[in-house]
């Protein structure tokens, strides 16, 4: 056993070398995208598959190697603060510099991004394989694979980045790919509309991200300007901190994660102080930090589909199913959680931000779960389920259980990707039928799809001992036992909502499962018999289902740590992320914004509770949909509720009525009042409308008459001269 441990902890490559090879992980899929995009039509389908799938597989192998390296206890990534343990990385020099602001092109892998790397390239590889079969009849295959590879490259950039600006490049890149892939079948106007909706909602989020980054720069610069005695902290003098910090900001730029971490270490003593320099003058550091975190929350809510920006994700299911599995379930949508885990040391310094994140997460989780109750499209159900699970992850972030949230990211990636791919397989075998009430009885006809779907359903439902149980329960347990200082009541509310969500999840997932796979085949089915999909599609399903089970290892409390003289038992994931979250844990211990439970009680009790919730709720679904309503539909007395939920709580309509409609009406009125000549598309937005109209009026100054142009020039020149002369003459 010890030998095995030593084997895994001794990487075959040197950490520096591994760091310098990191760019290859991004470059491979990028090259694949380039080849497929430029020459895809020429080289043919088989070669496109070879190149793109090969590129992702290559990335996966490299990621494995890098993952091995970061497990090496000798591994250390360069950092201005003396190296980051259990990480590899490299700084490839200045990316750009403007004045004192500077961004380096640096990549770094630690335990957090290492896991993400494996998930992205591993699940990405499986989904590429699956797509080869799924898209086998589509003429745009090369475009599809080019986008998919490009997405992988962008997502890898996002997790490998060692600074916020580079992360933002990946952030925008994945957004763009998502947008392109949602609208992949742009011939259909509704699908193109879904693409646009995703685009606009994400831009709102990006705005939040940019504002947050901008404010962050200001805050870092204000700390650079502080007198050294403000920066004293245990074990190190203010002068040392100040000089080291100043040179790190100059060397790495204010938005490098290593600098942000150091900022967090400096902040605890400053929180109540007022900022004295720069545009933020007058705010306390705590307030500034809270504003920054809330702006990041807006950004993360856009990307990770949280209230109020979640509306795009269900519509995003217009894209091909493998895209839904990869981008809108497993990877891209979790980047909000990744971002917060990355800057967890800042999150724990702002209780207001934490409780907001927790409440937003819990509300999103519950609302989405309630909507999922009545949806008919299998992909819609899974989409709302994704929104709901993402909400749970945000709840985890909010209550400071970063490792639990992240564990849920990983397990969710496996089982949700599996669910989506299985749903794709179902549609593939049933003439693209999406409506669960028009399926049924597929268990015998599609045995592999059935088995994998069942395993994943049980995983998401939280049946012991599947992986979803451990991750979800860890979040709920943390929500119950860890307290954000000053917000006990609200937090209990969030916990209750989270627990309700768990119950709802079991219900609606079982409903989807029963309606699709059990019972008789529906009379409305498009084809009399379904056919099982090809091995290239079922293969990834099986692998993902196995992973959905095996991932439970991470949730087992098997690691024993010596800390402060006593033995602490941690789950594998918590222990694994410990190097990443060390600063965070220190800050929690120092500031006490998060009250941790004192004694570690046995986990068995809560586990049994959670299990009972899942079983009862699932059984309820079983009775309702097997006994009373084998064909879907609803109970009579619940009809109004069903309708309310089926129409997604009318959120789209509310947005339409509250925001879009009034603007339209207003602009129509203005349009009629002034005149009705130009530009319909801009007219929806007030300012844009005014700007456009100014431009439209100005253009008529451009008469096409050369003499008039000359006259304007002569007039301008002479008035300039006259002005200057008058200025100097007494």
């Amino acid at each position: 056993m010890e030998k095995l441990q030593l084997f895994f902890q001794t990487a075959p490559v040197d950490a520096t070398q591994a760091g310098h090879a990191l760019w290859l992980i991004i470059a491979l899929p990028l090259l694949g995208a380039l080849i497929s995009g430029v020459a895809g039509k020429v080289i043919g389908r088989a070669n496109v598959h070879l190149v793109t799938i090969g590129a992702v597989f290559g990335s996966f192998l490299l990621s494995l190697l890098v993952f091995w390296s970061v497990n090496d206890f000798r591994a250390s990534a360069p950092s201005p603060f003396g190296g980051i343990g259990y990480a590899v990385g490299a700084d490839f020099g200045t990316w750009f510099q403007a004045g004192t602001f500077r961004v380096n092109f640096g990549l770094v892998v630690d335990h957090l991004s290492g896991v993400m790397l494996l998930v992205i390239t591993g699940v990405g590889f499986l989904i590429h394989l699956y797509s080869a079969e799924y898209m086998s009849h589509d003429k745009g295959y090369w475009r599809f694979f080019a986008y998919l590879n490009l997405f992988i490259a962008a997502m890898l950039t996002l997790v490998l980045a060692d600074s916020l600006p580079l992360l933002f490049v990946g952030w925008e890149g994945v957004g763009m790919c998502s947008y392109l892939l949602i609208g992949f079948w742009y011939d259909d106007p509704q699908k193109a509309y879904a693409g646009r909706k995703a685009f606009i909602t994400n831009r709102i989020g990006d705005f939040g991200f940019l504002v947050a980054s901008f404010l962050m720069v200001l805050m870092v610069e204000s700390i650079v300007g502080l007198p050294a005695d403000k920066l004293n902290r245990a074990g190190i003098t203010g002068e040392q901190v100040s000089s080291r910090y100043g040179s790190a900001v100059a060397e790495k730029g204010p938005l490098a994660f290593s600098v942000l971490e150091e900022t967090a270490k400096a902040l605890p003593n400053l929180l109540d102080e007022k900022i004295v320099t720069g545009p933020l003058t007058g705010l306390t550091y705590e307030l500034a930090l809270t504003i920054i975190m809330l702006c990041f929350l807006l950004g993360a809510a856009g990307k990770s589909a949280q209230i109020p920006l979640y509306v795009w994700l269900p519509d995003a299911m217009a894209g091909p199913t493998p895209v839904s599995a990869l981008i809108h379930a497993a990877t891209m949508v979790t980047s909000g959680i990744y971002l917060f885990t990355r800057v967890s040391y800042l999150v724990v310094l702002s209780p207001v931000a934490m409780i907001t994140i927790a409440l937003i997460g819990a509300t999103t989780a519950l609302v989405a779960a309630l909507i999922a109750f009545t949806q008919k499209g299998i992909k819609k159900i899974l989409a709302y389920s994704t929104v709901s699970q993402l909400g749970l992850m945000f709840l985890g972030i909010g209550v400071g259980a970063f490792w639990a949230a992240f564990l849920h990211v990983v397990t969710h990636a496996f089982f949700k990707a599996c669910l989506f791919l299985a749903a794709g397989s179902v549609m593939h075998g049933n003439a693209d039928e999406e409506d669960v009430t028009k399926l049924g009885g597929l268990r015998k006809e599609m045995p592999v799809t059935w088995a994998t779907f069942l395993v994943s359903t049980m995983a998401i439902t939280g049946i012991v001992p599947l992986s979803g149980f451990f991750s979800k329960d860890a979040i709920l347990h943390a929500a119950h036992t860890q307290h954000i200082a000053g917000y006990h009541g609200l937090q209990t509310l969030a916990w209750v909502m989270g627990t309700l969500t768990a119950a709802c999840t079991a219900f609606y997932m079982m409903r989807a499962y029963f309606l699709t796979f059990e019972g008789e085949r529906s009379k409305d089915a498009k084809t009399p018999h379904a056919h099982e999909s090809a091995p290239l599609m079922t293969g990834p399903l099986v692998v993902l289902a196995v992973l959905a089970v095996v991932a439970l290892v991470h949730g087992l409390p098997i690691m024993h740590m010596q800390r402060g003289g006593e033995t602490v038992t941690q789950t594998l994931m918590e222990n694994f992320l410990d190097p990443v979250l060390r600063t965070t844990n220190d800050l929690v211990a120092q500031k006490q914004f998060l009250e941790l439970p004192h004694e570690h009680e046995s986990m068995v009790g809560p586990w049994i509770q959670a299990w009972i919730i899942a079983i009862v709720s699932g059984a309820l679904a079983f009775f309702i949909y097997r006994r009373f309503l084998p064909r879907g539909g609803s109970l009579q007395f619940l009809e109004p509720l069903r309708k309310f939920s089926f129409n997604k709580f009318y959120v789209d309509e509310v947005y339409d009525a509250l925001i879009i409609k009034p603007i339209t009406v207003l602009s129509r009125i203005l349009h009629k009042v002034v005149d009705a000549v130009l530009i319909d598309s801009v007219a929806v937005h007030g300012t844009a409308w005014l700007t456009a109209r100014t431009g439209a009026v100005l253009r008529y100054l451009q008469t096409g008459d050369a003499q008039m142009y000359a006259a304007v020039m002569a007039l301008a020149a002479s008035s300039g001269v006259v002005w200057a002369i008058f200025k100097v003459l007494p």
Partner: protein, 519 residues
């Protein structure tokens, strides 16, 4: 009569021009002596000449800054880099023209010769240090571009564009020359170095004469850089000219005029109240940024939209120029305003290095982006359309992603770069200039700049939306294919992204001290 003693060193800065001119003459002769049916070789000769000239210019860029040719010209990195970028632009424009002209059966040696003459004029303009030299080089460049604009003799538009450009260009040149004459009268010199030495005395003696001279010279330059309100010729001429020529005008001519303007005015503001040049340039920058973007907004004609967009981009560069001329002494209690300089730190920094870097990088970025964008348009316009009105309508771009995804992707890239979206070169260019402006204390103007570029994003993205989200019309044109066009577009696209991601070494070269002679 003293025969001046020149060394080979003196001719170093004009060597690239020599190469361009020689190739131009060879091309003209080739039209007389060779009667081959395919004339792509002419484009190749012209392209090779611009590569060689550009190479020499890059080599020159590492020479120390000094006066050469008895003070009539300078050799400094600023002009050498400009020459190199002009050569890059000419290289791309020549490649674009090869396919464009072939499609129209209008390949002629004199077209390429004119392009090379124009490029020679641009290079010379950027290094002139004397008024008459400046005027002659300006005319070398202008006469060549007048002819190029009216080169295609089909339909009424090219000749109309040529005519307008000629009348207004000659008018502006006359203004500039009259200004030079007045300054000569006031100072007794035409070499910039001597003028600048004599200016304070002349200013004390007859301020009105000097101001009139300066104003007229500025008007001449403002015409060439298309600053509002001297911009009105731009959309008409850009629309009517053959598209590759438009591309060259938007990039090369403007770059050369900008560099010449900065160089001239660095010498001409000696002894003058610094508030006056600063206010004038700020006002021009303000009007140009806002006006260019507002005017581009309602355009459905993409070529015309790009013409206005080039005006807006001139505005961003003028912002950098305004930062260069920002007063160094600022009152402590100054308020932030649109036309004021209010340094954040309380003391005005010397931003000249940042401005030169920003200007050169912006020129480089705009050259590759604009050549790419106009190039894509040139490949899409059909010969049959020339008499129709809607050649460049947005509708023609609808569904391009479906029919020609590579072209659509490239065009989207160029649009994003024009809009200043990272990680393209357009973003970095804006970042450098805006941050230099903020460091110089031009907060209000920089904010206006950012807001106006937000307007810009709308009409650039509209093209992208049409390409990716609208169904193609039935009579949608397919781009004609010619390897030179494709080579040019791929080169531009690679540079747009490459420079946007890895600007490292180049920005380092651009920010060396001793960039501009005499500063």
């Amino acid at each position: 009569m003293i025969i001046p003693h020149f060394t080979l060193n003196d001719f170093l800065p004009v060597m690239p021009v020599g190469v361009l001119m020689a190739a131009a003459i060879v091309l003209m002769l080739s039209e007389v002596f060779l009667t081959s049916t395919t004339r792509t070789y002419q484009a190749i000769i012209a392209a090779l000449a611009s590569i060689v000239a550009g190479g020499i210019a890059v080599n020159n860029a590492f020479e120390p800054a000094r006066l050469v040719l008895q003070g009539y010209a300078v050799l400094d990195p600023f002009s050498s880099w400009t020459t190199a970028m002009v050569c890059l632009g000419t290289f791309l424009a020549v490649l674009l023209s090869a396919g464009f002209l072939k499609h129209r059966n209008a390949e002629r040696g004199e077209f390429y010769a004119l392009m090379l003459f124009a490029a020679a004029g641009m290079s010379l303009l950027s290094l002139s240090a004397e008024f008459i030299t400046l005027f002659i080089n300006l005319e070398v460049l202008s006469v060549a571009t007048y002819a190029l604009t009216a080169f295609l003799r089909r339909g009424p538009r090219p000749s109309e564009a040529g005519f307008k450009y000629f009348i207004l260009g000659a008018f502006a040149a006359a203004l500039l020359l009259y200004g030079a004459a007045l300054i000569y009268g006031a100072t007794g010199a035409t070499k910039l170095v001597e003028v600048s030495a004599a200016l304070p005395a002349a200013f004390a003696k007859s301020p009105a004469l000097v101001y009139a001279g300066l104003g007229l010279v500025l008007a001449g330059f403002a015409f060439k850089v298309a600053a509002v309100p001297f911009h009105m010729w731009t959309p008409d001429v850009y629309e009517g000219a053959p598209t590759p020529v438009t591309a060259l005008m938007s990039a090369g001519v403007k770059a050369a005029a900008f560099v010449a303007m900065v160089r001239t005015f660095l010498f001409l503001v000696k002894g003058i109240d610094p508030v006056i040049p600063f206010t004038v340039f700020s006002l021009l920058a303000l009007l140009t940024m806002v006006g260019g973007n507002l005017l581009a907004l309602p355009q459905r004609n993409v070529k015309r939209m790009l013409a206005y967009s080039s005006i807006a981009h001139a505005g961003y560069m003028l912002l950098g120029v305004a930062a260069l001329f920002a007063p160094k002494l600022v009152e402590a209690g100054a308020k932030v305003g649109v036309l004021t300089a209010t340094p954040l730190t309380g003391t005005a920094q010397d931003v000249s290095v940042a401005v030169y870097k920003g200007l050169l990088f912006y020129i480089l970025g705009y050259t590759v982006t604009s050549l790419g964008a106009f190039g894509t348009i040139s490949a899409l316009e059909r010969r049959e359309d020339e008499t129709r009105g809607n050649t460049w309508d947005l509708e023609r771009f609808a569904g391009l992603a479906q029919r020609k995804p590579g072209w659509a992707a490239a065009m989207a890239l160029f649009m994003l770069s024009l809009g200043g979206v990272p990680p393209t070169v357009g973003f970095l260019g804006k970042l450098f200039l805006f941050s230099a402006a903020v460091d110089a204390g031009l907060l209000g103007l920089a904010i206006v700049g950012v807001l106006s570029s937000v307007i810009g994003v709308y009409f650039y993205l509209r093209v992208v939306v049409y390409m990716f989200m609208r169904p193609a019309p039935i009579d949608a044109p397919a781009p004609f294919r010619h390897w030179t066009t494709e080579l040019a577009l791929v080169t531009s696209a690679v540079l747009v992204v490459g420079l946007g991601i890895l600007p490292g070494t180049i920005t380092e070269w651009f920010s060396r001290v001793g960039m501009v002679f005499g500063h």
